[in-house]
């Protein structure tokens, strides 16, 4: 099952998540899944490592299932000085991907399954910020020999 999401606050839609493509994870191997994100022009989200402790980081968190996330790899953030910031802020803009490397858990049952994840983000433009949101994602997974 693929989940394509367009998220909005009131009338504002700023983040589009592309449908997640099925991955096949060998019992004794690894596989990668990519979450492709597209932000509306003029908007940014905080990176996974924002400089300001109060800023809400982009965070992809996977639930339990037949495979487990070995690592979540975020793109290299942009350091930009925005109209409201005295110092550069660590952000993502435009189109970018968050990649997760999976391996099968011990004793994983072969076959089809679904992994779920939560993507937490908070978007702003130069003048205003939108409330933080958590997006539910579903990733079709096949565990194979």
């Amino acid at each position: 099952m693929l989940l394509a999401s367009l998220y909005c606050f009131g009338q504002i839609n700023v983040l589009n998540v592309a449908p997640l493509r099925k991955i096949t994870v060998p019992v004794n191997g690894t596989a990668e899944a990519s979450v492709a994100l597209q932000l509306r022009d003029g908007y940014h989200v905080n990176s996974n490592t924002p400089a300001d402790a109060y800023f809400i980081p982009l965070r992809l968190t996977w639930g339990a299932g037949p495979v487990e996330a070995v690592s979540v790899i975020y793109p290299k953030p942009q350091l930009e000085k925005l109209a409201f910031s005295e110092k550069p802020v660590s952000i993502f803009t435009g189109n970018f991907e968050v990649v997760t490397k999976f391996k099968a858990v011990a004793g994983a049952v072969l076959g089809q399954n679904v992994m779920t994840a939560k993507l937490r983000y908070q978007a702003c433009n130069d003048r205003m910020c939108l409330p933080p949101r958590t997006v539910d994602l579903s990733l079709p997974v096949e565990v194979s020999k």
Binding site: F9, G10, Q11, I12, D52, Y54, F55, I56, L82, A83, F84, S85, V89, Q122, C124, D126, R127, M128, C129, L130, P131, P132
Partner: protein, 199 residues
């Protein structure tokens, strides 16, 4: 001479038009008194546990600022509001900051201390956002006149001068010294506070 006069007249009209378009023309964003609507009543708790209602602010010009600790543009405005509170408090002005942080005072208290906030802060709710027209972005601020009516609204970061001009204009308004019936002590909306919003 006959050629010069039309040019002068045109220039004068152009100057007047440009002045009318400026955001910095002495509170130009302030709605005419007859166009202002009553600000929705609210009942909140401030950081010291005191109750703050719109009615309790009657007779004052109020800058009601919806903000959050995670909002960069909101942070820019805070020193301005600290200055306004200090500068205009004695003239009947008050800032009320309403935070929309999900974890309430856990984030807001240390932030208040770090930013030396000298005005009242309360924690907002979805209900409050709804009665104020569905606040979908921060900062969003309302300038409320002495009679409890919304004189200006700003969505997003604006110039400090805009706020200042509006405050000065409303403080100087001699016609707005009496609080109307809409500002009674019984709030029209019972705004529920989540447990983490209690001071």
């Amino acid at each position: 001479m006959t050629k010069v006069m039309p040019r002068l007249a045109f220039s004068a009209v152009l100057i007047l038009l440009l002045a009318g378009c400026s955001n910095n023309s002495g509170g130009a964003n302030v709605r005419a008194s007859g166009d202002r609507k009553a600000a929705p009543a609210f009942k909140l708790k401030d950081s010291s546990g005191g109750e703050v209602t719109l009615a309790s602010l009657k007779g004052k010009v109020v800058l009601l600022n919806f903000w959050a600790t995670w909002c960069g543009p909101c942070e820019v405005e805070i020193p301005w509001f600290v200055e306004f509170e200090q500068k205009y408090k004695d003239q009947g002005f008050s800032v009320l900051g309403v935070s929309f942080d999900d974890d309430g005072w856990i984030s807001v208290r240390p932030y208040m201390a770090a930013h030396k906030i000298n005005y009242r802060i309360a924690i907002g709710s979805d209900e409050l956002s709804q009665v104020y027209g569905g606040v979908d972005a921060l900062p969003t601020s309302f300038i409320i006149d002495r009679t409890g009516r919304i004189a200006a609204k700003h969505r997003g970061l604006v110039d400090k001068r805009d706020y200042q001009d509006e405050i000065i204009k409303l403080l100087a308004d001699p016609k707005a010294a009496i609080y109307p019936e809409t500002g009674d002590d019984a709030p029209r909306f019972a705004l529920l506070l989540r447990p983490n919003q209690r001071p």
